[in-house]
Amino acid sequence: MNAGTPSAPLDVMRLRADFPILAEKVHGRDLVFLDSAASAQKPRAVIAAMATAMERQYANVHRGLHWMSERTTEAYEGARDAVARLLNAPDRHEIIFTRNSTEAINLVAHSFGRGVLRPGQAVVISEMEHHANIVPWQMLRDAHGIELRIAPITDAGEIDMAALEALLADRKVGLVAITHMSNVLGSYTPAARLARLAHAFGAKILLDGSQAIVHRRVDVQVLDADFYVFTGHKLYGPTGIGVLWARRELLERMPPFLGGGDMISSVSFARSTWAAVPHKFEAGTPAILEAIGLAAAIAYVEAIGYEAIAAHEAALTEHALALLAKIPGLCVFGAAQDRGGVVSFTLESAHPHDVATLLDRQGIAVRAGHHCAEPLMHRLGIESTARASFALYTTQGEVDALAEGILKVREFFT
């Protein structure tokens, strides 16, 4: 693993060597992977951590009184410590491992939504949420009589704070659930301000950090959040693992979500009692190997340093926006003051799917579609966009290739 000092600029070429897949060819061309916002590639450190666990030190966790189980339990619980440090959570018991962000939000919608919120209360989400932060609340609305309110965004792609405040005014809102960074527009939301506003009106706040935590340091205590979720595979970790952080007092008030082994204190047919947090929310054999992989990913990112990553990506984004602005007929969506390395665009002459296919033939991977944000598409008056997204391993040369590639697509279709 490579590491820079936090303030030094990234030595991207050295970091790229940590990601074996970046040396692959696609359609005979060098892979230019600009789809990291969908899922990031994995450094050798992550691959090795998982393989080594399987090769040398593995057994089921928590219930074993033998060496392999004890060591594996240490590694699994060590991953919980690593996540707690990453988020600066005050208490390691507040970290719950889930499959992904989606499951983490569903867990909150289920256990907090049905177990703590009361019919007649409301949940606020924004117009620029991922489906993962929409559908669970709709299901809660339909099953449990919770009102769902939608905070509008401005044309720049920022939360309309005045409108949000108006939605909170009647103090019926029990939870504000908002993305910390839009996966379409790249906008960062003012998380600490959102939390203050929610709290001022007696609501809790959930931040969907699926995108945000990939690019910037997150401190749940500084943000004063109540719930924070993210997903391992976007943070250079494996699939199959995600995280819910929540304040302990909330977790303790919430009923369990899934039932089974490891989440109980005692079971009899008449009645079961629940284990203490976090185990209450982790039923069955957890994603042990994936937690180990996630811990390796976190160590990798921390060794590089968020400051350096953020600076690198900010430079890439600026460069990309400047280049794309010069392409006739190209429209970039989102103009938030505070934005990260995700750029969505459309081209007048070609549908985003066709753009993606033609870029792919040049080795350039971008995503096209509604990006699991149909209501946002609706708000923007479009059906879909093409989206390029940047990671710590993205180079300026790749951004140049994107711009050139788009020009060729344009030519092809006109």
Partner: protein, 154 residues
């Protein structure tokens, strides 16, 4: 650069994609259905007018989607006009095989000729994620002919 892509985006496809001939819903129709590709957001609203013998007289659609899906819908509207429902279903199955494998299945002469007109779409089979773009209109047609309202290309 895009030599191989000329297979996928042949002139006829680019042309039908840009200027579909049947790209409007019929004002007067007997059957309709919506086709939906949830993974990418493509959508087609299809209308069918039957002729006096119950044959397909006319197809019109409103669609949002890529060049491939618009062209596929337009070529479909063109080739099924005049066919009986049974013949259209046979052609539909044959086209789906063509799109998935690149190989046209054997058909009786009149239908084989119509399938030939769809041949420009054969090369989608090399683009697995685009096959659905080409087959979605046919799923919608099937739904409309069967009297259903919704089709999905999953």
């Amino acid at each position: 650069m895009f030599e191989e892509l000329r297979d996928l985006y042949q002139e006829v496809i680019l042309d039908h994609g840009r200027r579909p001939r049947h790209g409007e819903k019929l004002a007067c129709f007997d059957a309709e259905a919506r086709g939906n590709n949830p993974l990418c957001g493509d959508r087609i609203d299809l209308t069918v007018k039957y002729g006096p013998q119950g044959e397909i007289a006319k197809v019109g659609f409103a669609a949002r989607g890529c060049a491939i899906s618009i062209a596929a819908a337009d070529l479909m509207a063109e080739t099924v006009a005049g066919l009986s429902v049974t013949a259209a279903e046979t052609l539909s199955r044959a086209f789906q095989t063509l799109a998935r494998t690149g190989v046209p299945p054997a058909l009786d002469p009149p239908l084989a000729e119509r399938l030939e007109r769809l041949a420009p779409l054969a090369s989608v089979h090399e683009f697995p994620s685009r096959v659905k773009c080409a087959t979605l209109p046919w799923h919608a047609l099937h739904a409309a002919l069967a009297g259903n309202k919704e089709a999905s290309s999953e």
